[in-house]
Structure formats: structure tokens, C-alpha cells
């Protein structure tokens, strides 16, 4: 208990107001987040809830998505959250090269989501298979044929947490997703 108190007292608030300078250029997190929240507010009332599905990724994309929730990025303060069930989700985040084995699971997950809903793909794999583009086991259909085209793609291998966050904003500002 003492260790906890000591550490929470001395460490203070770790959440960053600014992006570290040595990470590729992207706007201040704080600024990004506030704008994002405004857009989300107009679309979803209070918040944007995301459900992630790995369709054959290497795991690094997931790791970066998980990092969004750590105290340094703290994505929840902007009203964005990752939920445990597709029934609670507004958007589906798809990573990975889309293995044939995951086609059915991906479809079922999407079908379980209530509308309005849209799809976001994260990582080069999810776009065109990335390094696995010509593999025999990549589903021939592609994400767009199974759950509809992604409205936003975030490139990178893996994209950094900052990139994911700022991509979300840039997108929501310019092309609000249509109701499906």
C-alpha cells in the first residue's frame, strides 16, 4: 500500500500533453484528442467504442492498440474506448492479413454489432496482406467483401499509437461515416 501511495504521489500525472519530439511528426496529442472528441460527440452522442479483431496479424499492431490505453496516451480521456463485446461497439477495428480461418469469425463479429457501424483497418497487413499479400492462405475476398469496405485505413507496420490517434481524428473531421 505504501509503495502504491508513494508512487502515485511522486510520479504524478504521466499522461502526455505533447508528443515526444523524436517520434515522427504528428500534432499534439492533446489537441488531436479534443477535436476528435468534438466530432465523436456529434456522431455518437458521448463516445466512440471500438471492438478489435485480429484476422492474422503478427501481434505488434495489437500491442500498439493496447498501448493507446496506457496512462501515457490514455485514449479514454477522449471518450474512445475498446470494448469486450461487439454488441457494445460502434466501430470494428480490423488488423492482420485476413487468414481464411478468420473469415467466418470476422463476419460474425461484425454482424453482432448494432448499427450505425463502420470498419477501420489498422496496419499494412489489413490493407493488402502486407508481407503476406500473395500467401495461399489469405482469404480471397478481402475485408471489404466480408464486412464492407473500411472507411478508414491506418497504414504502418505497426502504426505508432500517435499515428493511430491522429489518423482517427483526421478522418472523422473530413469524412464522417454514413449510417449503415
Amino acid at each position: 500500500m505504501w509503495t502504491i501511495l508513494k508512487n502515485s504521489f511522486f510520479k504524478g500525472l504521466l499522461t502526455e500533453k505533447r508528443v515526444l519530439p523524436d517520434i515522427p511528426p504528428c500534432p499534439e496529442i492533446e489537441g488531436v484528442g479534443r477535436e476528435l472528441k468534438k466530432t465523436i460527440l456529434s456522431l455518437y452522442g458521448r463516445s466512440l467504442h471500438l471492438r478489435e479483431v485480429d484476422t492474422g496479424s503478427c501481434g505488434a499492431c495489437e500491442s500498439e492498440i493496447v498501448a493507446l490505453s496506457n496512462p501515457i496516451y490514455d485514449i479514454q480521456r477522449f471518450g474512445i474506448d475498446f470494448v469486450a463485446s461487439p454488441r457494445h461497439a460502434d466501430a470494428l477495428v480490423v488488423t492482420g492479413a485476413l487468414s481464411r480461418n478468420m473469415v467466418l469469425a470476422l463476419k460474425k463479429t461484425y454482424d453482432a454489432m448494432p448499427g450505425p457501424k463502420f470498419v477501420i483497418t489498422v496496419g499494412d497487413c489489413a490493407m493488402d496482406g502486407g508481407a503476406f499479400g500473395d500467401s495461399y492462405y489469405r482469404a480471397r475476398q478481402g475485408v471489404q467483401d466480408i464486412v464492407g469496405g473500411a472507411i478508414l485505413h491506418i497504414p504502418g507496420c505497426p502504426p505508432s499509437p500517435e499515428q493511430i490517434l491522429s489518423a482517427l481524428l483526421g478522418f472523422l473531421q473530413t469524412r464522417p461515416p454514413k449510417e449503415r
Binding site: I4, A67, R100, N101, A105, F132, R138, C157
Partner: protein, 527 residues
């Protein structure tokens, strides 16, 4: 080496006809034997070297000699050597006697060979496919054969996967997955429970199968290094090093000391960030959020340090064949030392926070026990094995760059979640110490960071690196300057069966914490 030839003599005395012994590298002996002796020879080596099957795989050599080749890899700690038994399987009789009934660690490898090459392990008790799910893939189509061509839609064979069922009064099944509640890879877990305790857990994986080994074929070596980084994202560095090591061995390339120290630093950094993720995950899964968040901050700090040193948070693009791409500057090393010291200070706090919390200890102590005997029988490797008292670490067996660092092998005896946690914590301390040691060495070194690599010679070799989860193995065969066959073994492949045993008798709500304490890769297993 002399002594090892004694083992070969013993093998011969068993009545095994030895066709050829190849020792192209001091750490590796390839023993060619006849197909009919394969089973006997493997059993002998398994006992004699007291080694699990570390890898078993086939290669399609029908073009060259009308036969498939089959390899079985054992590790001799005593002789510090990889011992590879090899035999030809004529193409007109594509079958071999199964080892699975005698050596459990061969079981999954044989199933893999069966579905990928169509070679029948005769007498194997379980012939279900691992990666190519029946729901989407037909029978009789073997992707790793050389004459396999990728084409459009395939008709599935229509069969449904057959789970082992536990019958009896009051037994119920809980199916979970493939899509899980957290942000993790996909896998299907089927629990059979009687009241609270789990009486059987069946794990069905393969959902992230992407055909990695096939994709490797015909890649140039530089492309293949990049590929190896995409096999298991959390072990990107371990995989690329193991691949490079295989090529370097095959072409007898001497890697400069500077590159070796840098590689070792990167490997330990990878261990650090993953161990923090593991420690945090264990805390999170028992509901201790403060510690979990504390650990996630430490993980982020290591990732940023990686970015600072190498330009990649996951240490991608560091390795190249013959060495590394870029040398650390003095400032880099300075920054590394400062950050590591500060991180180890925080780690002490984290450790104290966890180990002094009664409610936390209550959840992890005696939970998910993997007994040493079980771990040995299943051929569990790496961190999970060390937590069960199996003192095995490639950094000890093949010290190479670790020689002189007084590397301390960390083990625990009880094999529960707490033991796996303690191994992580102590390894964090040891890794921090090693990084400082290597960085000190590196600071005094000048010179090239990569050996000159002429065009790859044809040949094959085994590369192996003790990554954070356990040994990563790459067996690579090069032809015409390209990869001809690449077998990848991620430690997860050995360890998933271990998890299925560790949870027995535990309650389902404790499964997440057991799972996290093993922290296995879906991508590395499914390939």
C-alpha cells in the same frame, strides 16, 4: 567434439546404419540415417541427450532425389550441440513411423508435417489438422510441397472439427473464442468443467495461419530478414536474429563483435518490454490496476528507448545478414544507460508493490501449476520451463556473446503463476545488468558493424536464439541466393500444450491469469 562422436558410436551400436555425419559448424551435427531406422534413432537421441524434440520438419526434395526429407532436431546441452537426424522418405511411399506415442513433443510437429506435406505419420493417435482448418481447406492439398500452386477459391472438405469431449453427470462445456474479449490474437478454448474446476481444456489454434513458411520460399535473403520480423510481432528481433544466424552459419560468416553486442542489447531490450507487458498483464488479470498501469508505462518507456536507439519501437530493421544496419553512437549508449538505470529503479518499486500485496499473492500463488515432470514430458521450453525448474536457456548452452558476462540462469521450482512472475522479475534485473555490461563493452569498440556478405552460398543451417519467451529456431536452406525452405519454430508452439495442463483443477475465472503468465503467441504458433 570428440566426445560427441562417442554418441554417434552408441547410435551405431543400436543397429542404426549411419549414412553420413556432417559437422559443418561446431554447434551442429547432421546425422543422415535410413528411413527405417529413423524411429529408433530418434528414441535413442531423445533419451541419450535427454532432450525434447526441439523441431521436426520435412522438405520437398522430389526434384533432386525423388524423395522428401525429414529432420528431427535435438539439443544436447552436454555437448553444446544441435543434433539433427535426417532421413529420406521416398515419394512413392509418403509415410514415416510416428514418434508421438513415445515422445509427446513430436506430436504437433508430426501433425504439421502431415497437413503441409501429405506425409503420413503412421500410428499417430491424433490426425486432426492444426493450421489448415477443415471448414475452409480441402483434403489432399499440401501447401509446402513444391508443386503446390496458389489458386482461387478452394472447396473445404466440409468436416467439422472434432473436440475431445468429457462426458459424465454435471460436466458442462464452455467454448470461448476465437474472438476474445481483450485485444489479443484469436484462438478457441473449450473448457470442460465439473462444478468450478476445469477438468479438461482443449485449445484449437491456427486462426492466424498466414502461410509464413511458404511465403519465405523464393525470397531473397534481405527480403527474408524483413519477413522474419513479421512472424511474431513481439519477438521481431529474436526471429530476425535467428534467421540471420542460420544464414551466417551456412555461409561461415564471422559477425563482428560490435554487431554481436548490439544484437545482444536489442535482444535484452525485447525481453524487457515483453516482461513488463507480462508482469502488467498478470496484475491486470487479477484486477490490480495500479500495478498494471505502472508496468504498462515501463513497457512504453522501453519501446521509446528502442525507437530512440534503432528507429523502431519493435526493433524492426535492425538486423541484416552479417551484422546490424547501424552502429550505436556514444550518445545512444549514454541515453541507453541512463534510461535502463531509471527503469530498473522503477521495476524495484513494481516488484515490491506486487509481492507485498496479500490479495495479489493470494491469487497467483499456487495457481496454474505446471509440474516439472509434465513440463519435461511435453517439451515445454523457455520461460515457462524455467519456472517449473527446468534449467534450460540457450544463452547458457551456447554462450557466444554472453560468455564473460556471468550470465545467471534464472529458475523457480513450483511452476505456478507466481513462479512465472518471479522468473520474469528476476530476468528483468538480469537483463538490465546485461545491457549495462554489453553497453560498456560496446563503448570501447570501433570498427565495422556488419561483415561483408558475398552472395549466399547454397547450404543449410539452423539458427537459434533464446528470445524472451524461449528458443526461436530457424532452419534455412538456401539455393540460388534465395530461400528454398525455411522452418520456423516459435517457443509458443511447444508451450501451448503446457497451458492446457497447467489450468487443470483451476477455476475458469483464473484462466486469464494462467494464460497471461505463459503469454504465448498466436501468430508464432499458427505461422
Amino acid at each position: 567434439m570428440k566426445i560427441f562422436s562417442g554418441v554417434i558410436e552408441e547410435l551405431r551400436a543400436q543397429g542404426v546404419e549411419i549414412l553420413e555425419v556432417l559437422e559443418s559448424h561446431p554447434q551442429e551435427a547432421v546425422i543422415r540415417i535410413k528411413t527405417e531406422d529413423f524411429h529408433r534413432a530418434c528414441l535413442f537421441m531423445h533419451k541419450r541427450l535427454s532432450s525434447a524434440v526441439m523441431a521436426m520438419f520435412a522438405a520437398d526434395e522430389r526434384k533432386a532425389k525423388n524423395a522428401f526429407e525429414i529432420f528431427c532436431v535435438f539439443l544436447s546441452r552436454e555437448f553444446q550441440k544441435w543434433c539433427i537426424l535426417a532421413a529420406d522418405i521416398p515419394q512413392d511411399r509418403p509415410a514415416f513411423p510416428s514418434l508421438a506415442r513415445d515422445i509427446h513433443s513430436a506430436s504437433f510437429f508430426e501433425r504439421e508435417i502431415r497437413e503441409m506435406f501429405g506425409l503420413e505419420p503412421e500410428g499417430h493417435p491424433d490426425k486432426r489438422r492444426l493450421h489448415l482448418h477443415d471448414e475452409v481447406w480441402p483434403n489432399g492439398l499440401f501447401p509446402l510441397r513444391k508443386d503446390f500452386v496458389v489458386f482461387g477459391p478452394v472447396a473445404p472438405n466440409g468436416a467439422a472439427y472434432c473436440f475431445n469431449r468429457v462426458l459424465g453427470e454435471g460436466i458442462f462445456e464452455v467454448p470461448v473464442g476465437p474472438v476474445h474479449a481483450g485485444i489479443i490474437g484469436p484462438g478457441h478454448f473449450r473448457f470442460s468443467a465439473a462444478g468450478e474446476p476445469i477438468v479438461n481444456l482443449e485449445i484449437r489454434l491456427g486462426f492466424t495461419h498466414r502461410g509464413v513458411e511458404k511465403v519465405f520460399e523464393h525470397k531473397t535473403l534481405d527480403e527474408a530478414v524483413r519477413m522474419a520480423e513479421c512472424v511474431a510481432g513481439d519477438t521481431a528481433f529474436g526471429h530476425s536474429w535467428a534467421f540471420c544466424q542460420a544464414i551466417e552459419k551456412a555461409s561461415a560468416l564471422k559477425v563482428p563483435a560490435r554487431a554481436l553486442y548490439e544484437r545482444a542489447i536489442c535482444l535484452e531490450l525485447e525481453r524487457l518490454y515483453n516482461h513488463f507487458a507480462g508482469i502488467g498483464g498478470i496484475a491486470l488479470d487479477v484486477g490490480f490496476s495500479f500495478a498494471a498501469q505502472f508496468a504498462s508505462v515501463l513497457k512504453e518507456r522501453v519501446l521509446r528507448l528502442n525507437q530512440r536507439l534503432t528507429g523502431s519501437r519493435y526493433l524492426k530493421g535492425v538486423n541484416r545478414i552479417g551484422g546490424v544496419r547501424r552502429g550505436f553512437s556514444r550518445q545512444d549508449i549514454q541515453a541507453l544507460l541512463c534510461e535502463i538505470l531509471s527503469i530498473s529503479g522503477d521495476h524495484k518499486e513494481l516488484k515490491q508493490m506486487l509481492l507485498t500485496s496479500v490479495s495479489f499473492m493470494d491469487r497467483v500463488d499456487e495457481t496454474g501449476v505446471l509440474r516439472q515432470k509434465t513440463a519435461r514430458d511435453l517439451g515445454v521450453v523457455g520461460l515457462a520451463a524455467r519456472a517449473s525448474g527446468v534449467a534450460m536457456d540457450l544463452r547458457k548452452v551456447f554462450p557466444d556473446v554472453y560468455a564473460g558476462s556471468d550470465f545467471r540462469l534464472i529458475t523457480q521450482e513450483r511452476g505456478d503463476v507466481l513462479s512465472r512472475l518471479r522468473v520474469r522479475m528476476e530476468e528483468v534485473e538480469e537483463s538490465a545488468r546485461l545491457i549495462i555490461y554489453f553497453a560498456d563493452r560496446l563503448a570501447d569498440l570501433a570498427g565495422a558493424v556488419a561483415a561483408n556478405f558475398p552472395l549466399a552460398a547454397a547450404g543449410c543451417a539452423l539458427g537459434a536464439v533464446e528470445a524472451w519467451r524461449g528458443p526461436v529456431l530457424y532452419w534455412v536452406k538456401v539455393a540460388d541466393g534465395q530461400v528454398d525452405r525455411c522452418k520456423v519454430v516459435d517457443p509458443s508452439f511447444h508451450n501451448w500444450p503446457g497451458l492446457a495442463f497447467a489450468v487443470l483443477g483451476n477455476i475458469i475465472p483464473d484462466f486469464p491469469v494462467c494464460n497471461k503468465s505463459f503469454d504465448l503467441s498466436y501468430a508464432g504458433n499458427d505461422l
